[in-house]
């Protein structure tokens, strides 16, 4: 199954990258952007049926740093017969 993890800095934690990106957007003339936060996105191929708590543990132990980051897991498990809605669709957005 496919698992998407989004890791972001907790609010209040210095986000130097976000600052730099905001500066870059401003320099390009995009003045409507007022804030940018930068995080990590991970897409994992995991054996079907891997329990949620294993995924949580992977995040807490390795994929994220619980002291300064939080995370969000989206599972795309084909087995449970639920609608296959993609949380974070893959691929380039189609216009």
């Amino acid at each position: 199954m496919r698992v998407c993890v989004v890791v972001t800095l907790k609010p209040g934690v210095l986000d130097a990258q976000g600052q730099a990106v905001l500066g870059g957007l401003r320099a390009l003339g995009y003045r409507t952007v007022s804030q940018v936060r930068v995080g990590r996105y991970l897409e994992l191929a995991v054996r079907d049926g891997t329990p949620r708590r294993d995924l949580e543990a992977m995040c807490a132990r390795f994929l994220a740093n619980p002291l300064i980051e939080r995370w969000q897991i989206e599972v795309d498990d084909p087995r449970p017969a639920r609608p296959r809605r993609r949380a974070v669709p893959e691929g380039r957005d189609r216009r």
Binding site: G12, L67, I68
Partner: protein, 733 residues
């Protein structure tokens, strides 16, 4: 009484300290004052348990310009140039978050050098971890190395030397010590004492956020994994880009001549910088927290005062230049604001929203009450001095095991991740010799050399001797590249000082450092103490680490550690009786940390180093390498592995073959040299009363070692296999 306890607990101050604070103030403190005192009186900021002992360290010398008590020590070089250096620990933050902990450690020590008005030109990292077969230790090691690499590379300061050792007693409590070396024009050296009442106080660099609040108190307490939540705010994040900009902007600000004093913001943030600068200068200071550039809204006065946000400096500036200095920082893309002014008197006054939240003599904060903990030697020390009977190991296997041990093995997988060539000074890069050598374009043909040493295993068996050995070894490392010591900065890593055995080891180590530096006439110009390095397995090995900076008169006359040519004579300078006591051989091959380490005879040591140094400077030597962990056999094998040239050698006998090969004792240096230089070396050595023993010759593709008076090769291995063992860290970090 319970009110006292409640008050002091709220502020994080012990009740005895709370009473002392009331006494000094002549009234109960305001809450903000209490929190400021709690931070400043933490062990980390206040050196409460170590100050009286650190006074023992010799800090004077003809070249010393600034000694301990300043942000970094400074020694004179030549032609108006001076070199600043200082080492600091970032152990606790690195245990919690290895990447950011180590990264901010680099940032912090760089700002100490910067605060002296020096441009950082080199970094040195000394690391300790639990055994790397443990995935948790490997993760720590990887994170720490990645963090150092990320920060140091980004600010363009080369990491040119370092150490890495592993031992079970560092499991869960890694040591991350980083030293920085900087260059300054003497006339541009900065002061950290505020003066000239009326001057503006400028806070420059990154904006102040909520990170790291309580960091000082945090580093002064043992790590408790269950207190995850409390530790959370103590993690600081670095912004190396801001760190780099801060270097350039601050050096430019100092060149204006309008900066009266400057200090970096480290532990206890603005509270520490303001109170220390005022106290050092015997002046007062007013700070208006409303003027502090903040990163986020809603910060309380206490949070602003104690924030440990990185990449900030506090400057005292002539009032008429304040505007220019502020815009200078802004031009570099940093924030800056006038946040106060220097006042007559001695009081630190802090206002927020028009209300005075603190008003107290700066000295109350900056001079924490001293504490003299009890000390007692460990009860089992004598037992541990007894070496268990061990059989003689197979020399080939023992040699390979020693070379592959992380403490001995090549650290290339580590320093390959560090930019060590930026600033185009690096003449001897990490790993190639016993010390790094940097050319000094400012004062050609002079060069600087840096080495870093510390051996917790030895210190655990005898902290006094172990500390002396660290100094001796650092000095030997410098001699091997032809350098003469300028000064020492040290980092003292110990467990909980309330444990009498821990404090005893600390006291012994300081005494050992002091004795060795005094006798070798090397001033200790700065350093740092880190207590509470403790985990589930108990306190870490007592680990004093010494960074020694030296100079060479001519950068072209230096020497590496690897055999560089076949057919050279291989000789041993210095002769002392090697012993298996406290040896790496016993530890690595037999799993026994046992025996009493040999002490170093400093008078003899000095003579050996004088001979080696002079021989290097005369250009006689093709390699020089001191015998350390693993004794003569490992030194010879390392020189062969580094140079890719084999050797046939006969080593002096001892009571056992393993003692002859792997026994340890300070003051021995393996050199290789062409035949025609041997006579010069021996007559020089004779003049100094130093024995030189010819061991054999370089050449071939094998390392073959025999013991004098015994038949056959004891060791016979291809250089290729030694190299493979020596590269055991590959892929681990």
């Amino acid at each position: 009484m319970s009110a006292v306890r409640a008050m002091s607990a709220a502020g994080g101050l012990a009740s005895a300290d709370y009473r002392e604070l009331c006494r000094r103030l002549g009234r109960p403190p305001k809450v903000t004052e209490l929190r400021m005192a709690a931070a400043m009186w933490s062990e980390h900021c206040g050196y409460r348990r170590s100050r009286h002992l650190l006074r023992l360290l010799p800090s004077d010398g003809p070249r010393v310009i600034r000694g301990p008590g300043d942000n970094a020590g400074v020694v004179d070089l030549r032609d108006g140039w001076a070199v600043a250096f200082k080492m600091e620990s970032h152990n606790h933050p690195s245990a919690v978050d290895p990447f950011h902990g180590a990264a901010t450690g680099v940032g912090g020590i760089v700002r100490d050098i910067l605060a002296m008005g020096a441009r950082p030109v080199a970094l040195v990292d000394s690391l300790r971890f639990g055994p790397l077969d443990d995935p948790a230790a490997r993760r720590l090691a990887r994170g720490v190395v990645a963090g150092i690499s990320a920060y140091a590379n980004c600010i363009g300061v080369p990491t040119v030397a370092g150490e890495l050792a592993t031992h079970p007693r560092y499991r869960g409590a890694p040591l991350v010590n980083v030293a920085c070396v900087g260059l300054a024009r003497r006339e541009l050296l900065a002061r950290s004492a505020a003066s000239e009442p009326g001057s503006a106080v400028v806070l420059a660099g990154a904006r102040t956020g909520r990170d790291g609040i309580g960091g000082a108190a945090f580093a002064s307490a043992e790590l408790d994994p269950s207190r995850d939540d409390r530790d959370r705010t103590a993690v600081q994040l670095g912004d190396p880009l801001a760190g780099k900009l801060l270097i350039e902007a601050t050096l430019e600000a100092l060149r204006t001549g309008q900066v009266v004093a400057v200090q970096d913001l480290g532990a206890a943030g603005l509270t520490c910088a303001a109170s220390e600068m005022a106290d050092r200068g015997g002046v007062g200071m007013e700070v208006d927290l409303d003027a502090v550039p903040l990163r986020e809204g809603g910060m309380t006065p206490d949070e602003i005062l104690l924030s440990e946000s990185q990449e900030r400096m506090l400057l005292v500036v002539r009032p008429e230049a304040a505007g220019a200095i502020v815009s200078l920082y802004r031009r570099w893309g940093l924030s800056a604001a006038v946040v106060g002014r220097v006042t007559p008197g001695s009081r630190l006054r802090v206002r927020a929203s028009g209300v005075t939240v603190a008003s107290l003599p700066a000295a109350v904060l900056a001079r924490a009450p001293a504490v003299r903990p009890a000390a007692r030697p460990p009860a089992d020390l004598r037992r541990r001095w007894t070496v268990p009977p061990v059989p003689e190991a197979d020399p080939d296997r023992a040699l390979l095991a020693l070379l592959a041990h992380p403490s001995v093995a090549s650290k290339e997988p580590v320093f390959r991740q560090y930019d060590h060539t930026v600033q185009i000074r690096t003449v001897i890069p990490p790993g190639a010799a016993d010390a790094a050598v940097l050319r000094l374009g400012e004062v050609p043909p002079l060069a600087l050399a840096v080495a870093c040493d510390g051996d917790g295993r030895l210190c655990d068996l005898d902290p006094y001797r172990g500390a002396r050995r660290a100094v001796a070894e650092a000095a030997a490392n410098l001699a091997c590249v032809g350098a003469e010591p300028l000064g020492v900065t040290d980092c003292l890593n110990f467990g909980d000082p309330h444990t009498p055995e821990v404090f005893w080891a600390f006291r012994q180590a300081v005494a050992g450092l002091a004795a060795a530096c005094r006798q070798l006439e090397i001033p200790v110009v700065g350093g740092n103490v880190s207590f509470y390095n403790t985990s589930e397995v108990g306190p870490v090995l007592p680990t004093p680490v010494v960074t020694m900076v030296g100079w060479l008169p001519d950068v072209r006359r230096t020497c590496r550690a690897g055999f560089s040519r076949p057919g050279d004579v291989v000789a041993l300078v210095g002769r002392a009786h090697p012993t298996l006591e406290a040896s790496a051989y016993l530890a690595v091959v037999w799993g026994a940390d046992a025996g009493r380490p040999a002490d170093v005879d400093l008078a003899a040591h000095r003579r050996v180093l004088a001979v080696v140094r002079e021989a290097v400077r005369q250009g006689w030597l093709h390699s020089a390498h001191d015998c350390s962990d693993g004794g003569l056999a490992v030194a010879l094998a390392e020189s062969a592995a580094l140079g890719g040239v084999g050797v046939d050698a006969v080593v002096p006998d001892a009571d056992r073959v393993d003692a002859a090969l792997f026994g340890e004792v300070p003051s021995r240096v393996v050199v290789s040299l062409p035949d025609n230089a041997l006579r010069s070396l021996t007559s020089l050595a004779e003049a100094w009363g130093v024995p030189v023993t010819v061991l054999g010759r370089t050449g071939g593709r094998r390392v073959r070692l025999a013991v004098r008076g015994r038949r056959g090769w004891a060791v016979d291995l291809p250089v290729r296999r030694l190299r493979a063992a020596y590269r055991s860290l590959e892929g681990l970090v």
